[in-house]
Symmetry: C2
Subunit: 384 residues, 2 copies
């Protein structure tokens, strides 16, 4: 029975048996972890056990099953939410989580993106067009080399530079050297050009080391942090977003998330990278563009983009940041698919254009601005 | 070319093209994230980029590709290791991580299980037979009810009680009430029986709340913590294991890990739940037994068990803890497959035996002890 103000989760299930059976297993497995005949307390059966609100045939042996879960089970924690909606059943065959709808009361427990689309735009001072972003690379360069690259990219006019997400604390390039020298290089470039480039430094280590790195980034006035929510934990990511003493913009990287997207199981990308990463407080979410070397199709990219930008309680929208194979030649075709509030991330392809990085960025910008931006093919409306 | 003392990762790839192409993409994608022709520095090409050490045909369009990665790239962090061995390529099709071998020098960066098999046995005082474990449930009960269940289970003679992993801080049952009352009930039972039952309390929330809960568990003298490494983050889990001021035994729960095990992609269960959870410091690792309602086969369970117990640097072995569908009737058949150093976790099936939980546990123990334990069918040798 449908429950008002409960967390609503839809699964696409594949089963040769009566779908009611698997649906019931899901509802009990994810909550009380025992069969219903062992429970006599009506409070538990009605208020704790997941309630099946709909089962709809979707083709041969496939059904869309919607289960409502009480938000009272959760302590407002995203970690617990992940466990509730997909924890144990991730280990069962034939269950894919395809939709997640959160009730208004529960949404109020989330701060969401601390800055969001408008906050990020204010920090870089660019409105009325998509933003440009590239990755600082490759791993193995010295901090001095990386700082020089930052300087060139910034003078070319790039809006955002993010560390490659493999950059950590390496022999030739310590975290501290990299961040300090890159930050200094960007300040010098800004003095020269009058334009600001935002710098997102990669944070991925043990909790103790991450805290030291965050403290150092804070001391230096670094603009943003790049973090990998699936690896570091969603609630850890969120704790950084919700820390009011941090001025950091947060960019979420999809590293390791692909495990959820293969085959007919897992969690749909628009739910994990769209809704859930936004709940966790990402101001921008990187995802593999449909054009590129990864496996998302155009519809998936559209749905992620929509879930990041569409109204969601009082949460600010988050920047869709397609990446992973965008080139100067496919950019016009890609650009017209995304709304204006998009960050286009061109990584290796930007370096591939030639040795003059400053010139490469100019060509990237020219290519992006050379056509008037059409109304996006995908109708998304920013919730801000 | 094979690299001595590097991290060795084998992938099973599916491709219709020359496997060298995908292997090269993996080696570059996971390290420098740019094609080789853009890199001129021999240090980067030889010491940073992954080195393909072997490509072996495994059937039509399937190959086993082995890539060596330099441990210098990593700061000793498990989060970084996950990103290095599977981060971006999780988003590519046709790549499954099937084996992970860590060199001795790199292994020394890990403390591993703080107590391990022998430490856990010492705490409960049981040698020479597998251990028994059950889950405290269901969610929705009051703390008083759960404490009463603990008391009965302990008097029945159970070795270990772990919280159901949905138990958090809920309206009818706060974290503090549950842990305090259950701990008290178990101390009372111990006074009466002279036997100890270990209690593992579930910790899954935001970092701030988890810290409060851990502090409270410490204050009460709780024996162990149950945590979900895939959800809370491997390095977070590890930071608890390596904290020398914590006397907690750690039990790892596989919640959400199933996302990695579906189809022909992801990470093989014996690598993630075996090697990696042990590296993270789990003294016991729960995994779905082949008999049960989840999807592992017997070989997978054997491999997980082996990776938890076999020598691995100086790391203590970790208890294989099969669960998820073991019953009194299938226990003899299952028991003979696992080595003596196994914890058998019977959850709902134990409650299903009848209202008298004390009697149910006795039947569980009788069933487990009624046959002399054979030499395990799977040859595993404890590294301790």
């Amino acid at each position: 029975m449908a429950q008002l103000n409960w967390i609503r989760v839809s699964y696409l299930i594949t089963t040769e048996e009566n779908p009611q059976k698997l649906a019931t297993e899901i509802a009990f497995e994810q909550t009380v972890e025992m069969p219903g005949h062992l429970i006599s307390d009506p409070y538990i059966l009605e208020k704790i056990v997941g309630q099946i609100s709909e089962i709809q045939a979707e083709g041969e042996n496939r059904y869309r099953v919607t289960v409502d879960y009480s938000p009272d089970i959760l302590n407002g924690s995203l970690n617990q939410l992940m466990n509730l909606i997909f924890g144990n059943i991730s280990l069962k065959k034939g269950i894919r989580l395809i939709d997640l709808t959160l009730p208004p009361d529960y949404l109020q427990k989330f701060t969401g993106p601390a800055y969001g689309v408008q906050g990020l735009r204010s920090r870089v001072g660019v409105w009325g067009r998509p933003l440009t972003c590239t990755a600082l690379k490759p791993l193995g360069c010295s901090a001095t080399d990386l700082a020089r690259i930052c300087f060139e990219l910034s003078l070319g006019g790039i809006d955002i530079i993010k560390d490659d997400h493999n950059l950590g604390n390496q022999p030739r390039c310590s975290y501290q050297d990299r961040v300090r020298l890159c930050r200094q290089a960007l300040l010098r470039a800004q003095e020269k050009s009058g334009r600001k480039t935002l710098y997102f430094t990669n944070i991925n280590d043990s909790p103790q080391v991450m805290q030291q790195q965050i403290d150092y980034a804070l001391e230096l006035g670094v603009d943003g942090l790049l973090m990998q929510p699936v690896i570091i934990g969603l609630d850890y990511f969120r704790s950084i977003a919700e820390n009011e003493s941090y001025p950091f913009l947060l960019m979420a990287h999809p590293s390791l998330s692909g495990a959820f997207f293969t085959g007919s199981e897992g969690i749909a990308p628009q739910v994990l990278l769209g809704t859930i990463f936004r709940l966790a407080g990402a101001d921008a979410v990187i995802f593999p563009d449909f054009s590129g070397r990864f496996s998302f199709d155009e519809l998936t990219c559209q749905q992620i983009s929509t879930n990041l930008l569409a109204p969601l309680g009082a949460l600010s929208p988050s920047f869709p940041t397609p990446a992973g194979g965008i080139t100067l030649s496919n950019l016009p075709r890609i650009r017209e698919k995304y709304p204006e509030d998009t960050i286009f991330l061109i990584g290796a392809s930007l370096y591939e254009l030639g040795q003059d990085l400053r010139e490469n960025v100019k060509r990237f910008l020219d290519q992006m601005l050379s056509y008037p931006l059409p109304a996006a093919a995908w109708a998304t409306h920013s919730g801000e």
